[in-house]
Structure formats: C-alpha cells, structure tokens
C-alpha cells in the first residue's frame, strides 16, 4: 500500500472532494504552517516575557524603569483590546475561538500582567510586604483568565503558582517552629493540595462547569498527591502510615482508572502502588535472617508476572 488516501478513495470510503483535498496535502500542493508558526509564536512569548521581567533588576535608570513599565502596560491594554474583539462570552461549556493565535495572545497578556506586577513590587519595594500574597495574586489572575477565556494552559499555570503560593506562605511559620517541620509540612501540604485538585477536577465534571478542565486538575493533583506521599514515605518518621495510605489510595485508584480507561492516571497509580508494595515487602523481609536472597528475585519476578497478567487483558486497552 503506497498511498493511504488513494486506497480509501478507491474503496469508496471517502468521496472525491475529500480525496482531492487530502491528495493536495500529500503531494505538498497545500502546505499548512500552522504548527511551525505557533511554535515560533510560543518561543517569542517565552523569550519576550522572560526578558521583560528581568529589567526590573537591571540598572536602567529611573526613567528607563518608568518607560518599561508604561511599555508593558500599553502592550497589555493593546492585547486586551484584541482579546475583547475576538473573544466570545463566558459559558460553562467549552468555548472555542477560531483564531489560531488566540490562546497565545491570552498567554502573552496574562504573563505580561504578572511581569508588570512583579516589576511594580520590585520598583516600589513592596516585595517584603507582599511576600505571602504575590503568588496568590498571580494564581487569581491566571485562574480568572483561564475560566473567562477558556484556556487550559493558563489553568495549568494557575495550578503551578497555587502550589508555589501554598508552599511559600507556609514556610515562615516553619522557621518559627524549627526546621524539622518545614519538610514534613511541605509534603503534607502537597498531599492535601493534590487531593483538593483531584476533587476540584471531579467537581468541575460533575457540575458541568468547564468539564474539560478536569484532566489538567487531576493530572497535577495526582502528581502532587503521589509525590507528596512518596517523599513522606522515605522522609517522615511514620513511613508505615504513608505506606498504608499509598497502598489503599493508589490501589483503589488503579482499580478505578482501569475501569474508566484513564491510562495515564492508571500509570501513575501503578507506579506509586508498586513502590509502596516494594517498601512493604522489603520491610517484612528485613525481619527474617537469610531472606535477602529472595530480594534478588523480587524485581524480575514481580515485573514479569505483572506484564504477563496485563498482556492477557490486552483487549481492554487496545488502541485503534
């Protein structure tokens, strides 16, 4: 078979019009630069917003700082003008805007707002005053933009800044209580924030408010939750509690995601469960003299038998 489109056309699976379009694409009569241009745009945004933020720290004189702040402000206003022109009104369902660069325009404007905010903080010496709040403000801005204009990239950024915000706002308390607490708290926070995000994702699907945001919420949520649990498993002084927690939650989620066919979450859950299970086996075997010899067999035997079990269920996750 040399030409898929021809094969489909000859067997009457596609009509002539479809075939002509596809053949034009195949023979490069029609070339789409959509992905190339978007990549260039993305790189440009990365460089531009990355660079702009650092001017605050450079010695470019009083007027230089004012000019760059005004400049950023003007770009933001111009950006908003375009956004308002193209955007559609808010809706709980997915809203798509047919402009290929709309989402990057949103990204640019949101990042510039954050940059301007950081700039103002540095310039007016507000860093100490706002140390606990600046990340929350960023989160709020990202979240607002994400929900108002329906953008998952901004949602993901909102979630990352939220994690940073929670982490930062807690650490001053840790210093007061003594250093040993700081790390414990961090993974407890990670664990709770993760669980919270998973629930938030579930709710957004359940209540049908931007149901397509669920994946982003739950992806970050599960990662935070599992990483929190796993670092607690190896770091805290109650490892068996976290081991038990992992075995139950990762086991239950493995079962659940297996049934709903969410294989990425199944993968996370499986890996976490396996680590917790290995921890259990090793800590049991530690108590028996001479049992070390069994440890050599542990990895090959468990891995290979699990593969064999999964392969026998292959019809469950066939991919067409």
């Amino acid at each position: 078979m040399n030409n898929i489109y021809k094969e489909l056309f000859q067997n009457d699976h596609i009509d002539k019009k479809q075939y002509e379009l596809l053949d034009a694409i195949r023979t490069s009569k029609l070339i789409s630069l959509y992905y190339e241009l978007r990549l260039a745009l993305y790189l440009g945004i990365m460089l531009f917003t990355g660079g702009v933020g650092y001017f605050a720290y450079q010695n470019i004189g009083e007027i230089g700082h004012l000019i760059s702040m005004v400049f950023i402000g003007v770009v933001i206003i111009a950006g908003f003008y375009f956004i308002q022109k193209i955007a559609k009104p808010y809706d709980n369902l997915e809203v798509t805007v047919p402009k290929p660069y709309f989402d990057y325009l949103l990204l640019l404007v949101s990042l510039l707002i954050i940059s301007l905010l950081a700039y103002i903080q540095v310039y007016f010496d507000l860093v100490e005053l706002l140390v606990n709040w600046s990340s929350f403000i960023s989160t709020a801005i990202f979240m607002f933009m994400a929900y108002r204009y329906d953008n998952r990239a901004l949602l993901a950024m909102g979630i990352t800044t939220l994690a940073a915000a929670v982490g930062i706002s807690v650490s001053p308390i840790d210093w007061a209580k003594g250093e040993w607490l700081s790390s414990t708290n961090l993974y407890v926070i990670g664990l709770f924030l993760g669980a919270f995000l998973v629930v938030a994702g579930q709710l957004s699907q359940h209540k049908n408010i931007k149901a397509h945001f669920r994946f982003t919420y739950q992806n970050f949520g599960l990662l935070l939750y599992y990483i929190g649990c796993l670092s607690a498993l190896f770091d805290s002084n109650v490892p068996y509690f976290y081991m038990f927690l992992l075995l139950v939650s990762a086991g239950a989620l493995s079962y659940y995601t297996w049934n709903t066919k969410e294989f990425l979450f199944f993968l996370y859950s499986n890996i976490s469960f396996y680590i917790a299970f290995t921890y259990l086996v090793f800590s049991i075997l530690e108590n028996f003299r001479g049992a070390e010899i069994l440890l050599i067999y542990y990895f090959p035997v468990t891995c290979i038998s699990y593969i064999v079990i999964l392969i026998t269920k292959k019809s469950h996750f066939s991919n067409d």
């Binding site: 596609i14 070339i31 960023s138 294989f263 090959p300």
Partner: protein, 392 residues
C-alpha cells in the same frame, strides 16, 4: 527484498497505518463519524498496540524486569568469573531477542507494545556488553558493533530510535576512520561529514522511490532529517571548534582561531538559509522544519561568540521580533498563498491541549516574584520516562 527482513507482517502493518491516519482524519473533522466507522470495520488489524501510557508502563516494567534478571540468573548458573558472565550476557541477549521476535512479534502480533521495544533494547545491549566487555584494543570495533546491532533494530524491527542510533554509530565510524588515517584527513573531517551525510540524504531520496510502502514513511522522515541536521552540524562553527579542542587536542592560544574559521562562519549562516530556500522552493515541510531548528542554533552560535553584552535586551527584543513576525505571517496566510496556509489542515497526532497546558506551565512558569525558594518543590516532575530511554 528488504520486506522479508522485517519481523512484522507488512500487510497488517499497512492496515494499522491506514487506520491510524484515518483516525487522525476523523479527529481533524475531515471524515464523518459514519465514514470512520466503516473504515474501522474494514481495516481491523491483527497487530496489537496498546495506548501510549500502557505502552510506557509496559516499557518500564520490562526494562526493570529484564535488567534485574541477571542477578538471579548468575546465581542459578553459579557464574563466578568474568568470562562466564560475558558469555551468559551474550546468550541471554540472544534469548531475549529471539523471544521478543518469535513469541511476541510473530505469534502474538505485538507492535510498539512497549514490551517489544524494551525486549529489543535490553537484548541488544546485553549482546553488545557480551561482545565488548573483553575490551578490544581497536577503537573501531566499538562503533562497528553498535552500528550492526542498532541497524538490526532499525531494519528488522522498524525501530526509529534504533535508526537514530545507527546514524550516530555511522558518524562515529567515519570519525574514527579519519582519525586513524590521520594527517590531512583530520582537518578535513567536517567536509567529509558534510559530503557523506549529504550523500546519505540523496540515497534516502533514491531509496524512497523504491520502498514506497507507507510502512517506511516515518523511517525516511527521520533518516532525511538526521542527514540534513548532521550536514549542518558538521559545518557549524561552535561544533567544529569545540570538537576540535575536545577530541583532537587542538590547542588554541588567545586570539587564535581554528583553521578555515571563516568558512565555518559562512556555513553556520548559509546552511539554514539554504534549507529555508529549498523548503519554500521545493515545498518541503521537512526542509522548512529543519531550517527553523538550525536557524535557531545558528543564532545561538553567533550570539555565543559575538555578544553585545546585553543578554536580557537581546532576549526581549528577539522575542518581540519573533512574535511580530509570526503574527504577521499568520495574518498573511489566512488566505492560501502559493499553496501555503496558516490554517490547521490536519490534526497532528502529538498535539493536544492538555499536553500543551503541561508544557506551557513547566516552561513559561510565569511566577517571577523574587521569593521563589519553594517554587521548585512542587513543579510537576516525574512524567513517566517517555519511553525513549535506552542505554546505547
């Protein structure tokens, strides 16, 4: 003839390819639900490939399972000395490959299932270890063994990572040969590389006309892109300079430059532009994409040696210029111009909004507030290994 070297059933593989590009067309909203349903019925393939995440899980499990298996095996076979271990590795490498080939691929029709890739990689690495652990004196033997083994993966199992490795080992052989000959050949290495890999590109285009099956499409894209990329790298000033210093013990005093420096500056600038020109003229996305990548590398190379001392300003300005240029091209290509358009024609199988969201949040971050000490604690991480980590 090549078709008989391939482990997979070509007919089934073609159906699989057809099915996946038809699915793509359906996702791009070119095919209707009904059409897609009919195609799915007519072209069911016997080949078994699980969804990508299950594939990653399989890959990880197989990798752990097979690479730790040498412990118990050594115990059972009571291997004590190194020579026995070497032979055992060689033997088990062959066993892994055979099992993967006969049981998984031929009998159970696995194709890109994660288990097959891991089995092939581990099997070939075991064989490579078995052969090379005796530490042969001739430096040529190492890349030669690597080349032979990876070309098995590339041809018999149509493995793209194997193909990349084949190219790299081929480059190593070429390099080693030039070094062994010595003298003038050492200085000519960049030109030898440009010539040979230019030739590889040319023979790929010739071979492509013979091997027209859709099964080989991806392999040719990878081979041609790599050839073009290596031709560029061989002429890139940074690469030539640093490799001359690292590998050929070239000592440069203050103010001194490598031989033919001017020529390499010219190559660094002209090769990407030539690619872009060909890309637009010959209407080839492959050339356009390679030219964009090499263009970026050239800019970085030149900035590295001719810095204006204002990195932040340069970054910001180049970002602004990139944004403006790509925005203008977007507007210009709203209507099709000479067959080029900025509209999305086909859905790319790697593009998903969820994936973009993750990448954007990890690369753009946005949190530039100075107190970011705990910032990194929570950032993502652990994205399941991607399925591409092999050790050779």
């Amino acid at each position: 003839m090549i078709k008989s070297w391939i482990a997979y059933d070509i007919k089934e593989l073609e159906k699989k390819k057809l099915l996946s590009s038809a699915k793509n067309l359906y996702k791009s909203k070119i095919l209707s639900e009904e059409q897609w349903g009919k195609i799915k019925e007519n072209y069911t393939s016997k080949l078994y490939s699980p969804s990508i995440f299950i594939r990653v899980l399989f890959f990880i499990l197989t990798l752990i399972g097979l690479s730790t298996i040498s412990g118990p095996l050594a115990l059972i076979l009571s291997i004590n000395d190194f020579e026995d271990l070497r032979i055992a590795f060689l033997l088990f490498g062959v066993v892994f490959i055979t099992v993967t080939d006969f049981v998984l691929i031929q009998k159970n029709h696995h194709y890109l299932s994660g288990v097959t890739e891991a089995g092939i990689y581990i099997g070939l690495s075991f064989i490579a270890f078995g052969v090379l652990a005796s530490e042969p004196n001739n430096m040529l033997i190492y890349p030669l063994v690597g080349f032979i083994l990876s070309s098995i993966a590339a041809v018999r199992y149509l493995n793209l990572l194997g193909l990349v490795a084949t190219f790299l080992f081929f480059g190593w052989i070429l390099f080693q040969l030039c070094i062994t000959i010595g003298g003038i050949m050492e200085a000519l290495i960049p030109f030898v590389f440009m010539f040979v890999f230019g030739l590889t590109y040319w023979s790929c285009t010739k071979l492509e006309k013979k091997l027209t099956s859709v099964v080989f499409e991806d392999a040719f894209i990878v081979a041609k892109t790599l050839s073009l990329f290596i031709v560029y790298l061989a002429g890139n000033y940074y690469v030539v300079r640093e490799l001359s210093i690292e590998l050929m013990n070239l000592h440069l005093a203050e103010g001194e430059d490598i031989p033919f420096a001017f020529l390499f500056y010219v190559f660094t600038v002209l090769v990407p532009i030539a690619y872009l020109y060909f890309g637009i003229k010959k209407r080839s996305l492959l050339f356009i994409r390679t030219s964009l990548l090499t263009l970026a590398l050239s800019v970085i190379t030149l900035k590295y040696y001719f810095s204006l001392g204002m990195p932040m300003l340069t970054i910001t300005l180049s970002g602004a210029i990139l944004i403006i240029i790509s925005f203008l091209i977007f507007r210009y290509l709203r209507q099709v111009q000479h067959g080029f358009t900025s509209e999305k024609l086909l859905h790319d199988k790697w593009s998903s909004q969820d994936l973009t969201a993750i990448i954007a949040s990890q690369t753009l971050g946005g949190n530039k507030v100075p107190t970011t000490e705990n910032d990194t604690t929570f950032k993502g991480g652990e994205f399941g290994g991607g399925g591409a980590g092999s050790n050779w």
